[in-house]
């Protein structure tokens, strides 16, 4: 006990004058903060993760949660977080884990980019009165059309188009596996994706039977652990995604703690119940780009060349060249996952220090693919840190075809970003497999919330496009002229290929 106990992270207080002793806080808190003793709510603040479940359920607004009730001596270098990390590692000798995305205070490039609107010289377009097209196609496009004109009005098209995914909005839901999150949250998101005319990723945890009705709107993932992968799984997806890397933990594989591997998860993943599901860092059949090409072709062959194949990589320094290699592998889309991407569990050192932001990654990838004349070969999907419709508009202007959202969809279902997903105790019934907790999430209501979010962002996107005098998403894509950088340095402006405000 040399290090001793540390200051509380959160202080929970109950206003006993208001408390009606209904016990909902006790019932709802899966982290054992509350107990009822002698007709009074007793509190153990040390267990609190600030998930706010108790606050949301308290009928009397009697609960208050305060951050850091006791500070360390302030120090700009030896921050509280640094000191606590050292304490933990000095005690355990282990790698530190964290949930959700990067929580370091890096500047957010999106917030230093502003969008454009029309004034006088051209009219803005009113989406309430004029058509506004957000329909997006994900997949390979031919570089040119070969049309042959015969006498009369007869035209023969000699170019054949390969299958694309048709999205009614450029917003998709990214890959979060069944296992990392609950069946009810999967059901809710799958239903929302179907209703919004968009797609959702299965994650690397296979496809549970209850989701089959939504399979036409699901993208099945093949990751290095190959969990749940068989030909039935591949056949069911609208598209297949090979996961090479993830923005929250570039260079390492997925990690699902055994606590979350219940019977259903075990069947879906095809692994023993209760065992940790740890995906290897690389795919053991991909040690170079030509191996990726083989896997892309194998997956296409297995599904009779009917399905687009995506490849997802983490945004790392050399992302543009890697994406160019992927564009040549036969893949139909490349997913770039920025360093703010979320996760159920990742070593904090990776989550916080490895990879680059999505804004710079998309800008670099789009430029590189254009320079090499292969931009039409693949669609670009941006993911990792898309928080609002403005981010969607900006990243599309930088060159993305569509986005994946992850954390935002979870927040729409109640998630408070407490970052404790890896413990499997999610009080909201999202990042847990405990039946009593999962039952808290009503898939009907939650799918409405997720659908509302996508719809609201889509409406905002339409308004932003209309204000910019654009009535089709194609004209927003790669349109960096409609962006300006605000307080970004010159080198960053060059990377993003945008002008500063006023220029």
């Amino acid at each position: 006990m040399i290090i001793g106990s540390r200051p509380l992270k959160y202080q929970v207080t109950v206003d006993h004058d208001h408390c009606m002793l209904c016990g909902r806080c006790v019932e709802n808190c899966s982290y054992s903060v509350y107990r009822m003793e002698d007709h009074r709510i007793r509190i153990n603040s040390r267990n609190c993760v600030a998930c706010h479940r108790c606050i949301s359920q308290c009928p009397r607004d009697a609960i208050t949660i305060t951050s850091r009730p006791c500070d360390y001596r302030p120090h700009p270098v030896w921050t509280d977080e640094i000191r606590e990390s050292i304490f933990k590692q000095a005690e355990s000798g282990k790698i530190l884990l964290g949930g959700m995305g990067n929580n370091m205070d890096y500047p957010i490039i999106f917030d230093r980019i502003v969008l454009d609107a029309c004034q006088v010289t051209n009219p803005s377009i009113d989406p309430l009165r004029e058509p506004m097209e957000l329909r997006t196609f994900i997949g390979k496009k031919p570089k040119r059309l070969d049309l042959h004109y015969r006498p009369g009005h007869d035209v023969e098209m000699r170019t054949s188009l390969v299958k694309n995914l048709q999205l009614e909005t450029p917003i998709m839901i990214g890959h979060m596996s069944y296992g990392a999150i609950s069946l009810n949250s999967h059901l809710a998101m799958a239903r929302a994706a179907s209703e919004c005319g968009t797609f959702m990723g299965t994650g690397e945890g296979g496809l549970y039977e209850a989701l089959y009705p939504y399979q036409d709107h699901m993208i099945v993932q093949v990751a290095s652990g190959r969990f749940g992968v068989d030909v039935n799984y591949l056949d069911r997806g609208a598209a297949i995604e090979i996961k090479i890397g993830q923005g929250a933990k570039p260079g390492i594989g997925g990690h699902l703690p055994g606590e979350k591997v219940c019977a259903n998860v075990s069947c879906t993943r095809m692994i023993p119940e209760g065992s940790d599901a740890i995906s290897p860092a690389p795919h053991h059949d991909i040690y170079s780009i030509e191996d990726l090409k083989q896997l892309v072709r194998s997956l296409k062959e297995a599904t009779e060349w009917k399905k687009p194949v995506f490849v997802k990589i983490a945004a790392v320094h050399n992302v543009a060249a890697i994406a160019a290699g992927i564009a040549r592998s036969g893949a139909d889309a490349v997913v770039i996952d920025g360093f703010r991407g979320g996760t159920g569990a990742a070593p904090s050192v990776f989550r916080n220090h490895v990879g680059i932001p999505i804004e710079a990654a998309i800008a670099a990838v789009d430029i590189k693919l254009r320079q090499q004349g292969i931009r039409n070969e693949v669609s670009i999907i941006a993911s990792g840190g898309i928080r609002q419709s403005a981010d969607v508009a900006k990243v599309i202007c930088l060159g993305a075809d569509a986005v994946y959202i992850g954390t935002a969809a979870l927040v729409a279902m109640g998630c408070r970003v407490c970052g404790t997903c890896y413990r499997g105790l999610c009080t909201w019934g999202i990042a847990t497999q405990r039946p009593d907790l999962v039952a808290r999430l009503n898939p009907d209501e939650a799918s409405r919330n997720v659908g509302n979010l996508i719809q609201a962002w889509t409406l905002e996107l339409a308004e932003l496009m209309g204000a910019a005098g654009i009535n089709s998403i194609e004209s927003l894509r790669g349109n960096r002229d409609r962006l300006r950088g605000y307080m970004l340095d010159q080198e960053m402006l060059k990377v993003l290929d945008i002008k500063p405000v006023g220029a």
Binding site: E133, K141, L147, T159, L161, E474, G478, N479, R480, D481
Partner: protein, 350 residues
């Protein structure tokens, strides 16, 4: 604002420039006296097969030396002269317009299907990006652009457009926003046989520019109109799409309209939108584009700029204003308004 007008005689009967001068001047309300121009096809019958390269020189020393050296490297100048101009009142010779009749040496571009055009494109892009004090503003065969800063009638008189005879004319009256009264900023824009006049602002310029630049074109005029000429060149010349399909790529029907089309049209229009999505132009515009064999006019997808069509025997007129067409041809037989995005094409009868 800006006013545009174009006329094609489908039997290639020649018209001198006096009538189009009147027609363009009637639209002075649409301009600001800072730019006007005319393009005419069939104006150089003595050199029909040579590229007529028009250059604005800031001075006749260094830029001219560099341009001529480049031309001599890639082919042969058969004849050259200063373009005759007549200063008066406000119209001063700010730049010296010069013309070369040029024969490219096609052996120097062995791997191309269209070596002559590719050599000339290369020369134009090189001069406009790297020779300071020189700007190529016209580079087609048997076609000439005459433009400057000033009111339509002033520019017409400066070049005496009535002295030229063409079977196809395009003209433009400018109200500048992107660049002020810069001669290079006046329309028509021309590359090879393509000439473009444009009223409007292309809100998708960034997308279009990045798309066209990935095919080796460089945008040098600091304005959005030039991408139209390059897109026409890419789609209609290099990719061999018909003028109608090219317009379908630049101002495509909405998905909802495509879904109502007969199946065969659905397939082609979907393919065009998927393949040429980045060539789609957005924002308010009315555009007329000319080549040797046709004149095509079209507006943006929701027709935010005016476009009127007139017909009389074998002549087709395209303009911003009906009044301009009636000035050009008081006996015009039929006046109509095309629908948004609908391509209007007048072809020569061969």
């Amino acid at each position: 604002m800006c006013g545009i007008i174009g006329v094609i005689d489908r039997k290639r009967e020649l018209m001198d420039g006096s009538a189009i001068r009147e027609a363009l001047s009637i639209m002075d309300e649409r301009g600001s006296g800072e730019g006007a121009g005319y393009a005419a096809y069939g104006v150089y019958p003595d050199y029909p097969d040579l590229y007529a390269i028009h250059v604005f020189y800031d001075n006749l020393i260094h830029p001219r030396e560099q341009v001529e050296e480049l031309l001599e490297t890639w082919g042969m100048i058969e004849y050259d002269e200063e373009i005759p101009t007549y200063e008066s009142g406000r119209m001063k010779k700010v730049h010296t317009p010069w013309r070369y009749f040029f024969r490219p040496n096609r052996k120097l571009m062995p791997r191309s299907d269209t070596p002559d055009d590719d050599i000339v494109t290369h020369i134009v892009m090189t001069i406009n990006t790297s020779v300071s004090g020189a700007l190529v503003f016209s580079s087609g065969r048997n076609v000439g652009v005459f433009k400057a800063s000033g009111w339509p009638e002033e520019v017409a008189d400066f070049y005496r457009v009535e002295d030229y005879e063409g079977y196809l004319w395009l003209a433009h009256n400018r109200y500048p926003t992107n660049t002020s009264g810069w001669w290079g900023g006046a329309h028509p824009f021309n590359l090879l046989n393509w000439s473009v006049v444009h009223n409007g602002e292309i809100t998708s310029y960034g997308t279009n520019r990045r798309y066209i630049e990935s095919f080796g074109y460089s945008c040098t005029m600091f304005t959005d109109t030039e991408v139209v000429a390059y897109l026409m060149d890419l789609l209609a010349r290099k990719h061999r799409l018909s003028p109608e399909h090219t317009v379908r790529a630049l101002a495509p029907p909405f998905w909802e309209e495509i879904e109502r089309m007969p199946p065969a049209d659905q397939v082609i229009n979907t393919a065009i939108r998927l393949t040429y999505g980045q060539a789609m132009m957005n924002g308010p515009f009315a555009i007329a584009v000319a080549s040797h064999d046709f004149l095509v006019g079209f507006s943006d997808r929701i027709k935010l700029r005016p476009l009127v069509i007139g017909e009389h025997d074998h002549r087709l007129y395209i303009s911003s204003e009906e009044a301009a067409i009636r000035t050009l041809d008081p006996m015009v037989q039929k006046i109509s308004m095309p629908r948004a995005g609908e391509p209007i094409v007048g072809r020569v009868i061969t």
